[in-house]
Subunit: 337 residues, 2 copies
């Protein structure tokens, strides 16, 4: 099968054997999405080698016939009606990307996102989704409601990451919130925060991207108009992927306010500890979120992902697609095996 | 009057006129305490010039006869019995160090600690406590219960700063907590955290200081014994005043745990954003706390400050006392006008 891989400091399309199940499920990928993390990996910043990609929607190709399925069913009973539809070959699914050991306290509590022995699809120790087939533990798979198209379902993972903010920080309609960064992650975060009723301001430097939010009635601010906003916001989400975005967040947040760090920047960054202590700012690192809230938002059409799709490429054009994803003004690039 | 001042990049004892009241209260200082912030200011890192010192206990020398007193009484009615003893000349007092504008939303809500126009005793725009007399708004003064000695009451401000952590982070007897830094601030933080019933570990490198905590039954750890503790703690308070302490805190905190930044380090510091995002760590800047919880702890003898006093100097020996406070193994140095 075709797979887009990063190996020996090089990105290339490879022809691999279809993965064996080994007690996990095999999924035939319908769409995968290129994330900034993929671009960072392909720059060599993340220490991962293998098949890239962790955003996908697909169809179950093969299930193990043993206890793994029983465990999944048990989890489904806990997690509610969306999951009780059952997992059978042919079922359309998305998949949580962290695969835990299954036995540590965190995994047994149903949250393998911080399992110290975890693998992560296309990021840590596990081949990813930019391929014709992938494999994941059955317990990671979640059926996609019929009303969500494949092109929208492929946004479940990044949308879940945005929803993760609401697991960590509580917002109400009285919370003054801002998102720094008008890229695809920022545009998702802005929409998720707005579902709480909080007034949200999107801060960025690309008029074409800011206009996507402005059309929904979101207040937008360009960098040159920020002087009067210092110390104004209760909650700021840093989603620009740059250290200057973090500095800006510290300027804009009120004393005792919260800065959510949603994007990683590679390497070490200057850090003004005195400002954080004197203004008693709360900084919250935020990575992955749960999939069910994201699927619900997509099912209820409470977020717009359609306008974030810049382009689709065939998987065999994956190297070119990755290059395209780095270009100015481009948002989500999808791959189709 | 004598005052210990930092001016023109130089620390010296000066002879000043006794301050005029100008609508504020005049306090005759009984003891003042040297804080690491004083040492930072005297190194030129904080941009303050004037009389140093913000930790004190004293006696009211003079009160304004007007509305300022009425306002204070009104606040006292709200704040409870400790304050209702009233403020009269001769009353022994400690004083909150942030003096707000009195009219902004924060000040009107009774918390001037983040008033953007605030002055801060001996730190921002207001002469401090290493002097024979100081002045503060009446509303800042809090009577000291009779059972607390002057030598203990002078610890109210740093103890309140330690208590401020509990305004921001909630701990229970099931919270695994650690304090990094065995200096005077670390030893106060460790005791305050322990009042919640949480098991607290103190991490430092000075055996003589660690033993002060060990004698109270606190678990102590030296830096060479930390390898097995990685990712173990729910809450870590960084009170070492060094950037390496912050790095260590990120090593020791569990995923989704909390690091409280209690001490400032001057200048900018390397900051590993990826680690904070991937492990979803919460970082809480913490500066000043309320005085009443600190006075209650002193009154109930639930914290030991006696063993933190290294030495007393006469105020006229202030320059020598400041030098002494920088020496290895020295904890709190008190000045006596």
């Amino acid at each position: 099968m075709n797979a887009l891989r990063y190996e020996n400091q090089k990105l290339s399309l490879a022809d691999l054997a279809k993965p064996g199940a080994d007690g996990e499920a095999i999924v035939r990928v319908t769409f995968s999405g290129i994330c900034n993390t993929d671009l960072e990996i392909a720059r060599g910043y993340a220490g991962f080698e293998g098949t890239l990609g962790h955003e996908f929607v697909g169809v179950i190709e093969e299930l193990p016939a043993d206890g793994a399925l029983a465990r999944s069913t048990e989890k489904a009973q806990r997690d509610g009606p969306l999951l009780r539809r059952g997992l059978v070959p042919g079922q359309r699914v998305v998949g949580e990307i962290n695969a835990g050991c299954g036995t540590c306290d965190l995994c047994r509590a149903g949250d393998p996102r911080h399992c110290p022995a975890r693998t992560v699809l296309g990021i840590v120790g596990r081949d990813g989704a930019h391929a014709e087939f992938l494999k994941l533990p059955v317990v990671n798979l979640i059926p996609v409601p019929d009303s969500i198209s494949d092109e929208h379902a492929v946004f479940t993972e990044p949308l879940a990451a945005a929803c993760g903010i609401l697991e960590q920080v509580s917002l109400t309609k009285d919370t003054s919130a801002a998102v720094i960064g008008d890229g695809k992650l920022g545009l998702l975060c802005e929409q998720v925060l707005a579902t709480t009723g909080a007034p949200v301001t999107l801060i960025g430097k690309h008029q074409s991207k800011l206009q996507i939010a402005a059309r929904r009635g979101v207040e937008i601010l360009t960098l040159d108009r920020l002087k009067s906003e210092k110390g104004k916001f209760d909650v700021i989400v840093e989603a620009s992927g740059s250290s200057s975005g973090f500095d800006l967040a510290l300027d804009l947040v009120r004393p005792r306010g919260t800065v959510v760090l949603k994007s990683t920047f590679h390497g070490k960054t200057d850090f003004d500890a005195a400002r954080i202590v004197v203004n008693e700012i709360n900084i919250v690192g935020s990575r992955c979120g749960r999939f069910l809230p994201a699927l619900k938002l997509l099912e209820q059409e409470r977020v717009d992902v359609e306008s974030l799709i810049s382009e689709q490429f065939a998987l065999r054009e994956g190297v070119r697609a990755m290059k395209r994803a780095t270009e100015k003004g481009v948002l989500k690039v999808l791959l189709r095996p």
